[in-house]
Amino acid sequence: MHDASMKLKQKQPRRYIFTQKLDTFFFDVYAFGQFVARFFRALLLPPYEFKEIIRQCYMIGVKSLSLITLTGFITGIVFTKQSRPSLSDFGATSWLPSLVAIAIIRALAPLVTGLITAGKVGSNIGAELGSMKVTEQIDAMEVSATNPFKFLVVTRVIATTCMVPLLMLYMALLALLGAFVNVHSNEQTSFISFIENGFHNISFLDIFSSLLKSIVFGFTIGIVSCYQGYNTTQGTQGVGRAANTSVVLAMFLIFIEEIIIVQITNWFRP
C-alpha cells in the first residue's frame, strides 16, 4: 500500500499553485461560494417547501428557547450588576438603565443570540445533515424525486435567517427584564422610569442594525452548518467533524460580520 502510493506520487507529481494547504483552503472557499450561489438559485425557483420551512422554524425556536431565556435574563442581571460600581464612582447610577439598554440592544443581544444559536442549532444541523449524508439518506431522497438541496438546505437556511432575529428580540427583552430586576432591587427605580430612561438614547438605527446583524448571523449559521453537513465524508467520524466545524466556523464568521456591520452603522451615526 505504501509502495503503491509512493509509485503513484512519482508517476504523477502533484502540482500546487501555492502550497497544498493553501490550495485546499482556496478550493474550500470556492466550493463554499458555489454552495451559497446554489442556495440563492434554489431559493428563487419553485417548488417552495413552505410546510418544511415552518417545521424547521418551530424546531429551531423550540431547541433554543430555554437556553436563550436563561442566558438573556442572566446576562441582563450580571451586566447591570458589574456596571454599577464604575458608574457609582461618579455618582451616576441614574445612567445605569440607559447604559445597559444601549449595551444590550446594540451589542449583547445580537451577538449572544448569534453565538448561542450557532452552538445549539449549528451543531445540530451539521450533525443531522452529516449523518443523513453518510447513511445515504440524502441520496435516497434524491432518488425518490425530492430535491434534497431544496428540502433540507434551503428550508433550514431560511428558518435560521428568520428565527435568529426573532430570538434576538426575545433575548433583548429578557435581558432588559433582568436589568430591570437588578436596578429595581438596588435603586428602587420604577418600571416606567426604567423604560423611559433606558430607551432615551436608543435610535431607530440601533434597532435596525441589530436586526440586520441577526439576519446576517442567522443566514451564516444556516448556510455554514448546511454546507458542512451536506458535504460530510468519511463516515461517522466525518459527522462529528461536520458538527464541530459548523459551530467553530459560524462563530468565527459571526465575529467578523459583527465588526464589519458595526463599522458600517457607525458611518451613519450623526
Binding site: L8, Q12, E128, S131, M132, T135, E136, Q137, D139, A140, M141, E142, V143, S144, A145, T146, N147
Partner: protein
Amino acid sequence: MEKKEKHIDRTKLVISIRDLHKSFGTNHVLRGIDLDVYQGENVVVLGRSGTGKSVLIKIIAGLLKPDKGSVNVLGNEVTAISYSGLEQLRLRIGFSFQSSALYDSMTVRENLEFPLLRNSKHLSRKQVTEAVEKALEAVGLSQTINQWPAELSGGQRKRIGIARTLIMQPAIMLYDEPTAGLDPITSMEINELINEVQQLFNTSSIIITHDLTCAKETGDRMAVLLDGQFVQEGSFEDVFASGDERLKSFYDYNFIT
C-alpha cells in the same frame, strides 16, 4: 427458474449501458462497462468490494455523473436528461440502498409515506394509508408501522427500504447488496422477496451482491465485475462452470458446491 424465464421480454430493453467510464481523481473505477437489462429480467452484478458496483447503479439512478459513455434507462439518456426529466424517470426506479437509508427522523409509516405524499399529491389520506399498509404487508412487516428505524434490525430495515421503493410501483429495481450482513435465513427471506417483487410487479432488476446464494436464487443472468470491466456474463451455471481462475477465489469463499 423456467417459470420466471417466461416473464422476460427479450425484445424490450429497459437499461442499456455502453462504454461507461468513471473515475474519482486518479482512481479509475469503471473502465468501459456494457450492460443490457431486458424487461422482466433480474441481472446480478457480482464483484469484490470496491470494484465499483455501487458506483454503477448510482450512475444508472443519476446520482453520479459518468465521465464517458451512454446510459439509457427506459428510453431516456440519463447523462443528457434535464433535472425535471430525471426526477420523472426516478419515479420509475426503485433504489434499495446498501445501508437501507431509512430516514432516521421519521417513523416507518412516515418513511413510506414520504415519496407518495411528495409525488402523488392527488391521493387522499385514506389511499396513502392503504398504500403504506399494502407495501408493508408485501414485505411482511405490518407490525412495525409505528416504530422508528433505530428500533429495527438490519434485515427489517432492508425490507422497509424495499417497501419504501415498492410503494411507487417502479418499473426498475436496483438492489445494492440486499443480503450483506444478514444471517442465512434472513437472506433467504430477502431473496424470496426480490423474486416476489419481480413476479408481482414484473419489474426488471439489477441486484448487486457478493453473496453467491443470493445470486443463484434471484438472478436470471450474472455479470461479473472485475477491475472496472465485466469479465464474465451468463447464467449462474455458465459463469461458474467456466472454471475462470479469477472467479475461483470467489467461489471458494462462498463455499458453494
